[in-house]
């Protein structure tokens, strides 16, 4: 059997089966989904890269195959899918409607694989929509605040999907084919204005999923509202479908000469990154914070892609992979906190570090990667991004990115402090470390974050393969992945990652040994209630942790930007529209005489106009 079909049958069939299993044999459910994803991974990674399949449905010619770019994103989807579903087995323990959950979970994994393997626009759109509603069904799984959150997500998804559909049919109208290969050949024959329209429409479509300003308003609610095990996949992989789409648009559908589009996208993404970071800084719910942070990170990725240079695209894709890794971990860690402590509101929970040390370690590593601090993977991505932007003369973009990633330190600290540091509360004394199925995915993923900081080769090589399919020349030296530790920019400046790693590790270890060695025997742990607070004796039930209005001074400094959210503009627009619609509604006033008048007037109008304009 064709392994592509096998893959889809496995996932979609498995989805239905998991629903049934939950109904009839709930014991086997967890094991089944994990095994299924293992099997999917096995099929995916052992697949021959030349596998493809063509067929016709409803008079439309379809083609499925994995391109090397799609393969790169496929790695994210399958591995993150496996890990997040493993995580789910523990995270979702004891919740109801698990069949519904796993079915939609697997549906979205399957539809993502479907999107990636589509070599034609119709199956792309088909799977895209399946992805939309299956993820939507999980977004509304909790049933809280659905009218606002769920509707926003589905409406924006619909706007995106329909713009995409419009672009697809326009392309079809001109080229007469839905196959990507045909389209890539003939797209440049289309009139330039239509090309622009297609690009913009597709960009709206993909921009919604990758949460680009001003289409991002759904993201914070949807990310924070779904179960965290899904959000890990949602933010890590599902939003990357938008990035995947962008890469298609930017490198295959828009000619590289069309620099204006690249500039516009890059600037939009930069504004996204900055504003979303600012919003993230002022959040007090860890989930919301991570949601906004995801939006900002997607901004970097898109900037990288839009810069169009070798290093920039590589940075974008690298960050895309890495964002899946570290943001997946972070969402999982927050989920673990939610599961164990019952809340992720940072004004309530604090001081979990000694209760959940491994969760903290995983989130610490991910946060360091997220903030782009050497020697972890995030730094490699950030470095390439900055160098790419500077060497391609995008000076002000660099500043925007820098502003965003400096402000990112604020929320990075906030989330670690809010959840894990601060005073230990008796309220959370019962909290235990997350169970193993939740810990293992987190620790594995943070392992990748660490490894990629010094040996980025194992991620850069598939990326380079993908970039070759975008028409870039391979530039990485032809060496094994563990030897690749020097990154160059196009001016010849470099950073030697292994030296960085060695230096940091050596100094850190020496300093740590010295500081631990001195007074090791005498030193003992005192609780976080034992602090110097003007001599006052803090009782166990007093919470002295500083949590409310955490970044108030910063907020005051940037208040003109936060004064009015983009959400408000949408709300105003929606209200205006509804008022207009109410006016239209008055046409049908329920009075039969009026309707008769309409008929006669219409008839008269047609008779007059008919003689005048229709020429009979």
């Amino acid at each position: 059997m064709n392994s592509l079909i096998l893959l889809l049958i496995l996932v979609f069939g498995g989805a239905l089966l998991s629903y049934l299993l939950n109904k009839f044999l709930p014991i086997l459910r967890d094991g089944f989904v994990v095994l299924l994803m293992l099997l999917v991974n096995y099929v995916f990674f052992t697949m021959d890269s030349a596998t493809q399949i063509e067929f016709e449905i409803g008079g439309i010619h379809l083609q499925w195959a994995f391109s090397s770019a799609a393969f790169l994103f496929g790695i994210i989807v399958s591995i993150l899918g496996l890990l997040s579903i493993t995580y789910s087995t523990a995270y979702m323990q004891g919740k109801d409607r698990l069949g519904y959950f796993y079915m939609n979970f697997l549906f979205s994994i399957g539809s993502m694989l479907g999107i990636l393997m589509s070599r034609d626009l119709i199956s792309l759109f088909f799977f895209w929509e399946i992805m939309t509603w299956s993820s939507y069904l999980i977004v509304i799984y909790s049933g809280k605040d659905v009218d606002k959150r769920g509707l926003k997500y589905i409406v924006f998804s619909a706007i995106g999907a329909y713009s995409m559909l419009m672009a697809i049919v326009i392309i079809y109208g001109f080229t007469g084919s839905f196959l990507l290969t045909d389209i890539f050949d003939s797209i440049f024959a289309i009139k330039a204005s239509y090309q622009l329209a297609i690009a913009i429409l597709l960009m709206i479509g993909f921009g919604v999923k990758s949460a680009m300003m001003p289409l991002h308003v759904w993201a914070s609610g949807a990310y924070s509202g779904s179960p965290m095990s899904f959000t890990a996949l949602f933010s890590g992989a599902l939003s990357k479908m938008g990035v995947f789409g962008f890469s298609l648009v930017l490198f295959n559908l828009v000619s590289n000469q069309n620099w204006l589009i690249n500039e516009i996208i890059a600037w939009l993404a930069a504004i996204t990154a900055v504003l979303a970071t600012f919003y993230a800084v002022i959040q007090s719910d860890a989930k919301k914070l991570l949601a906004y942070s995801s939006i900002a990170q997607l901004g970097y990725i898109v900037i990288g892609l839009a810069s169009g240079t070798y290093l920039g695209v590589m940075a974008g894709l690298f960050l895309a992979v890495l964002h899946a890794v570290f943001k997946g971990t972070l969402f999982m860690a927050v989920g673990a906190v939610e599961k164990q402590a019952g809340t992720t509101d940072m004004t309530k929970v604090s001081g979990l570090i000694r209760k959940m040390p491994w969760t903290f370690t995983a989130s610490l590593i991910s946060i360091i990667a997220l903030a782009g601090i050497p020697p972890l993977g995030g730094f490699v991505g950030k470095w390439m991004l900055y160098e790419a932007l500077i060497t391609s003369d995008h000076y002000y973009l660099v500043i925007m990115v820098f502003l965003s990633s400096t402000a990112a330190f604020l929320y990075s600290y906030r989330i670690l402090f809010g959840l894990f540091l601060g005073q230990e509360e008796p309220e959370f004394a019962h909290v235990k470390e997350a169970p193993l199925p939740m810990l293992i995915p987190m620790l594995l993923l943070s392992g990748i974050s660490v490894l990629s900081g010094t040996f980025p080769g194992f991620i850069l090589e598939p990326i380079q393969n993908a970039m070759v399919s975008f028409g870039f020349d391979p530039r990485l030296p032809n060496i094994e992945w563990w030897q690749l530790s020097v990154l160059f920019n196009s001016w010849g400046d470099k950073v030697v990652l292994q030296n960085v790693m060695i230096s940091i590790t050596a100094v850190f270890l020496i300093a740590l040994t010295l500081i631990t060695w001195k007074g090791y025997k005498k030193q003992r742990y005192v609780t976080t209630k034992d602090i110097s607070s003007s001599g006052e004796i803090i009782q166990a039930e007093d919470n002295m942790t500083f949590q409310i209005d955490f970044y108030k001074p910063f907020e005051r400094a940037i208040w003109p930007l936060l004064k009015r959210k983009i959400d408000d503009y949408y709300t105003d627009f929606g209200n205006g529209l509804e008022a207009l619609f109410d006016l239209v509604k008055r046409i049908y006033n329920g009075n039969g005489q009026f309707y008769a008048i309409y008929v006669m007037a219409f008839l008269a109008l047609l008779l007059i106009a008919g003689t005048k304009y229709f020429g009979f």
């Binding site: 509707l151 409406v155 419009m166 509804e578 049908y588 039969g592 003689t611």
Partner: protein, 496 residues
Amino acid sequence: MVISPVHYIALPLMAAFLIPLFGKLNKDLARIIPGLVLLYLSYISVVLMNQIISSNTIIVEIIAGWRPPWGINLVFSPFTGFLASMFSMLGFVIWMYTYNFKPEVDNAQKQKFYVLFMMLITGATGIVLTGDIFNLFVFLEITAISAYSLTAFYRERDGAEAAFKYLLIGSFSSTLILLAILLLYTQVGTLNMAEIALKMPAVDPYMKGVILILFFVGFGIEAEMFPLNGWSPDVYTQAPGPIGAIFAGMVVKAGIYGLIRVVFTLFDVKEILPLLVIIGMITMAVAEVIALRQGKLKRMLAYSSIGQMGLVVVAFGIGTHESVFAAIFLMFNHAIIKGMLFLSGTYLVYNSTEKTLDDVDGIGKYLPFTSFLFALGSLAIVGMPPFAGFWSKLYLLMAAADVRLMAVIAIILVVSVIEIVYYFRVIHRIYFRERTSTIELKIPSFNAKSAMLILAIIIVAVGVYPDLISGLIERATTDLLDKQSYIQSVLSVGLK
């Protein structure tokens, strides 16, 4: 008995008159007969369709021995046959649904319902099958009169008012069509549609325009075109639930059939097509916009139905082969999907008098099956894959893109977003609100459930594998657009 298209008209009509008689014999018999008739009609649909598709011919049935162009003839072509089959099968499903609907209504009342139902089936299938323009008018009147009565079926104030409005506007329709037929007769001297089409080029263009406009407005009223559709929201709202499905699935379809038959076959004027597109767009936009602001479930469905008809009109108005294909596909989808929405929606607001959206709050817990099907229907009608609605919308967009009608595409997609908003609002209400209303809920009977399930299965099956139906529709399209072969096959029978 030889299978013949005449059965489509004769049997339901006969059944309509026999029901009161049988009703005297046995209470249940009066309810079973329509089902048997419709089942038989569905059966002959399959046989006849198979026959004409495999032999690639058109069945022209002559009534009472008068050959065309003098006598009345029935034309069972792929297009008309497709519609007739659709009507009878949909009719059967609705019969299943109504079999145990409102058991508390007394027997005489039920018999009346089935009489009117049968009349309506007769009229609607008659409209699509007949080859005679005046005969078409007669069937239209049959349909309309039974529809008026069904609207006022509950004998309530609101129902009566809606029926009266419908009657008022419907009589405009009849008058205009009759006037048009008269004028047409003065010009061509025949009532046979094939012959009219043949003689049409010779007609004075001015007269031609006037007649066309009269037809246009007349049928436009039945086809719910803006601004002629003032009657329809009230009718949908006040008529019994399944009747809404019948309206959406048959009456309106018959109206639109008349319109396109006149435009495409009789007159074949391309100048009117842009008008169709414009009117269709306006219909769609206005209706969906108003549907967004509705507080009542059935009213919302009614406006949505109008909007869908606007879409069909647009599709016909584009006028290419692909777009007509899309239009017929849309008609089919609209019939089954909106039918299912009306059928399931009826149970959601079964005992409610106001039928507002507040009544469906949190109903998903109590009526899981019905709610699920309603949600599925909603997803389908807004065109989400993998449901049937997706393909028809896609084909329409492709057709529009072929002729570079980008504005049309844009408006259709914008309207689709609006559609999504109001359908998902209802779904959210169904599943994610707490139930506040105290109205007693009605669990659907087994018949009703299976009726809805059949439609749902069709929706999903067509959605996953559109080739199930697209072959038939392709033939229907070819048939509709191939005016010459229509004329030829009808008149050749006449010349024999």
